[in-house]
Symmetry: C2
Subunit: 436 residues, 2 copies
C-alpha cells in the first residue's frame, strides 16, 4: 500500500522527537501498521535551524497553512501548542478532510467540543493520546481498555514539574522556592512556571480524562484549580508523620447529579502505589466498577516519550484511515449523540477528609473552641498532632485530620477558627483522598 | 443497528462475571460501542445451577458445539479454560466464520499460532486481552499504545497467587507451606496449586506478552520456568536487608540474536514501583526505546476484573465486525506476514546479576576459595553478608551478590562451590534485575 503522508506542524521538542522515532523505527512501525508512515512536510519557525534535523526528503516551510492545505498530506500532526494559531490550523485541516493528531492539551480541553463536532461532520479522526500524561497510553486504556466498566473516579499525577518539586521538597525538607529554582535549572520547569505550578496544565489534562471516562463534554472552565506554590515544607513533613504523602492530583468523580473536577495538593496514604510515583514521572489511577483500581505509569513529558504517543496515534489513524467512521473509536469514548449532560458540581458540594493546620496560642481551652466550631459544622476529627512553633513564640502548630466533610462546611469552620483570638494567621487546609 | 449476539462457553467465575457486567452496564456499553451487545446463548455444565444466574432471555445448553455452530451468534466467548475441548471449540467457531473472545492463556500460549493462522484465513478476530493480567488492558497497551516503540524488554508480576504468597512471606516472615495453606483457605490458590506456584501460569502469560511485544510466534515450550515453592523465608529476609524484594517475574528481553523468555523468583530493588505491588495484584513493566519504562497495574484475576477485559474485547470486536481485516489490529501486533524469526535464547546464555546463598563452615580460607571459584568463571562480587546459622552448628549463611554474569558460568561456579568440603548442602541461586 501507498505510504501515509504526514505533515508536521512544529519541529521543536516533540516534533523533533516524532520525526526521530518515525525514522528510527520505520521498519518496525510499517510491520505493525501494514504500510509506511512518512513525514513529507514540516512547518517550522526557523528554516536554517530545522534543516539539520530534517535532512533529505522532507519539505520545510514557515507557512503552517501551506502544510494544512497541501492535498498530498493525509494526516496533520499539530505540535506547536497554545490556542492560536493551533486552533485555526486544526479546524482548517479538518475542513480539508484531513485527519489530525495533536499533543495540545490546552486546545483539546478548551476547544475539544467544537473540534470533535467538526471532525464528526467531516468524517475524520482527531487523536490526542499525547495530550495527557505523555507516553502513557492512558487515553486508550480508559476509552477502549476499560470500555466494559462504569468508571467511578480517576485521579492522576499529571504534571511532572509539580511532582518533581514535591518529591524534592519531601526528600530534602526544602522550601518550594528553592526547589523551583532547581527544577528550572534542570529544565523541568519553564522560566515562567505558572501554567505548571498553579495547576492549570494538570486541569487541562484532567478535563480530557474526565470527558472520556464519563462521556461528558469538555468542561475546563468549571474545574476547581489550586497549585502547589503556597505549599509549606512543614505540611509535607506533618503529612509524612501521619502516614501520608502530598501529591498534586487531578481528581474527577462521578455522582448521580454531576461530576467533581478538581486539581489541588492532596494527602494520600503513603502505602498506595501512586503515592510512590516520584520525580517527573506521571501516573493515572482509574477505578472502574468491574475492574476495580487500575494504574498507568510512565514518563509524562519529554521529546521521545511524547513522540511515542503521537506515533501510536498515527498508527491507529493509519489503520482506520479508509474505514467507515462507525468502525472508529468515538473521540470521547461514547458515541457523539450519546454524551451525558452531567454538569460539574460546585466545589462547595465536594466531600473530602481534610488536613487543617493552624498556629494556636499555647493555653488551655483553645482546642476546645476549635473542636466546638468543627462540631457545629458537623465535622468530626480523626487524628490530631501538636508541635511547638519556633522558640520564643508562645504558639503551637496544631494539625487536625477530619473525617469526610462537605467543602462548604469546612469553609465556614475555617472562617470561624481564623476569627478566634487564640489563632494566629490563616488556617492551612489540604484535602485528603483514601483512593481505596 | 441490530444487537450483536454473543454465545458464552462457560458460565463459571469469569462467564458469570461477564454476563453480570454486560447486563449491569448494558446502557453505557451500548453508548460506547454504538450498538447493543447481548448474550443470547450459553453452554454450561449444569443447567439447574446456571438457570438462576442466567434468568430470562438466555438459552442454556450443555452442548458447547451447539453454541459454536449456531448461525445466529456473531461472537463466541470461550471461558471454559484448558486445552480440550476449548481448542476444538475455538477452531470450529473460526471455521464457522465467527469472531472469538477468550480468556484462555494456556490455549493461546500453546496453540495461538495455529489459531491465529486459521482466524487470518477466515478473516475473523480472536481477542485475548483477558488471557493476561486479568482486567489490566496490557495487551492493548503493548500492541497499540506503544506501537511507535521498539520494545526492549518487559517483565511482569502476572500470577496473583504467587504474589500474595510472597507478600505474606515477607510481611510475616512465614514459611512457604504455611502461607500456601492460608492462600488456599482464602480462595487465592487452587487445591492443586502446581500451575500457579511452579510458574507455569505465569509462563503462559509471559509467552503471550513476549509475542506481541517483539512480533514473534508463541514459543511457550522454549520458556525457562521456575516457581516459588522452594523459596526460603530467610532468602526473603536477606534480600530485604540488602534493599531488594523477591517477586516471581516473567521476563522477556530482546537481543540481536534472540529473545529471553524466563519465569523465576527475582530480586528487584525495593524502591522500584513494581517492587511495591503487593498481594494478589498484578503489574507489567514495559520498556520501549522511545517512551522509556511504563507500568500497568490492576487486578490480575477474579470474576469482574477478568470480565472487564472480556467485555472490552467484545466492544472492540463489535466496532470492527464489519470492517475489512486490514482495518483491524493484527493478532500479534505485527502483520501476520511480518513476524520475526527470532528464536528463544538458551537459558545458559542469559546474563543476570545473582544472589548466591551458601552454608559455609566458619573457618578461615573458605571465602577465599569461594571467591577464587567465582573469579575463575569471570564472576565478580558486588556485595556480601554473613550471618551465623542456628546455634550449635558451626555454619554461617554467606550471601553474595554478583555483578552481571552469564548463567552458564554461574552454573559451573555453583557446582564447584558445592564440591568444596567447607560448604554444606546446595547453593541457593536467585537472579536479580535492576529494571532500570
Amino acid at each position: 500500500m501507498k505510504a501515509i503522508q504526514v505533515g508536521l506542524l512544529g519541529l521543536g521538542t516533540v516534533g523533533g522527537g516524532t520525526l526521530t522515532v518515525l525514522r528510527r523505527n520505520a521498519e518496525e512501525i510499517a510491520r505493525r501498521a501494514g504500510r509506511e508512515i512518512c513525514v513529507t512536510h514540516a512547518a517550522v519557525r526557523n528554516l536554517d535551524k530545522a534543516q539539520a534535523l530534517a535532512g533529505q526528503g522532507l519539505v520545510l516551510t514557515t507557512d503552517s497553512f501551506a502544510v494544512v492545505n497541501n492535498p498530498s498530506i493525509d494526516i496533520v500532526v499539530e505540535l506547536i501548542g497554545g490556542i492560536n494559531p493551533a486552533r485555526e490550523l486544526v479546524m482548517q485541516a479538518i475542513a480539508n478532510g484531513k485527519h489530525v493528531v495533536t499533543a495540545n492539551k490546552a486546545l483539546i480541553a478548551k476547544h475539544g467540543n467544537e473540534i470533535f463536532a467538526a471532525a464528526q461532520a467531516m468524517g475524520v479522526m482527531v487523536a490526542f493520546e499525547a495530550a495527557v500524561a505523555g507516553g502513557i497510553p492512558v487515553i486508550k486504556a480508559i476509552r477502549e481498555g476499560l470500555a466494559g466498566n462504569r468508571i467511578e473516579w480517576l485521579c492522576g499525577i499529571i504534571n511532572g514539574t509539580c511532582n518533581f518539586i514535591l518529591s524534592e521538597m519531601r526528600d530534602k525538607g526544602a522550601a518550594f522556592a528553592d526547589v523551583l529554582r532547581e527544577a528550572q535549572a534542570k529544565g523541568y520547569a519553564e522560566a515562567d512556571p505558572t501554567f505548571d505550578i498553579e495547576g492549570i496544565d494538570a486541569a487541562h489534562k484532567l478535563t480530557i480524562l474526565s470527558a472520556i471516562a464519563f462521556g461528558v463534554p469538555m468542561q475546563f472552565d468549571a474545574a476547581h484549580i489550586e497549585g502547589i506554590s503556597k505549599l509549606a515544607a512543614e505540611d509535607i513533613a506533618f503529612a509524612e508523620q501521619l502516614g501520608y504523602r502530598i501529591k498534586l492530583l487531578g481528581i474527577s468523580k462521578r455522582h448521580a447529579n454531576g461530576i467533581e473536577l478538581r486539581v489541588h495538593p492532596t494527602l494520600i496514604p503513603a502505602k498506595r502505589l501512586i503515592a510512590n510515583v516520584e520525580g517527573v514521572m506521571n501516573a493515572v489511577l482509574v477505578k472502574g466498577d468491574a475492574v476495580g483500581p487500575t494504574l498507568y505509569y510512565g514518563a509524562g513529558a519529554g521529546s521521545e516519550p511524547t513522540a511515542s504517543a503521537v506515533v501510536a496515534d498515527l498508527v491507529d489513524v493509519t489503520r482506520l484511515i479508509t474505514a467507515d467512521p462507525h468502525h472508529r473509536v468515538p473521540h470521547l469514548a461514547f458515541q457523539p449523540d450519546q454524551l451525558s449532560p452531567l454538569p460539574v458540581l460546585p466545589m462547595v458540594e465536594t466531600e473530602t477528609a481534610c488536613y487543617l493546620r493552624m498556629r494556636a496560642m499555647d493555653r488551655p481551652g483553645v482546642l476546645a473552641e476549635v473542636t466546638r466550631i468543627l462540631s457545629e459544622q458537623g465535622i468530626s476529627i480523626d487524628a490530631m498532632i501538636q508541635k511547638p512553633c519556633a522558640e520564643g513564640e508562645n504558639l503551637a502548630n496544631v494539625v487536625l485530620l477530619t473525617h469526610l466533610a462537605r467543602e462548604g462546611a469546612v469553609d465556614v469552620a475555617i472562617a470561624n477558627i481564623e476569627a478566634l483570638e487564640a489563632i494566629s494567621g490563616k488556617v492551612t487546609r489540604l484535602r485528603m483522598e483514601s483512593l481505596a
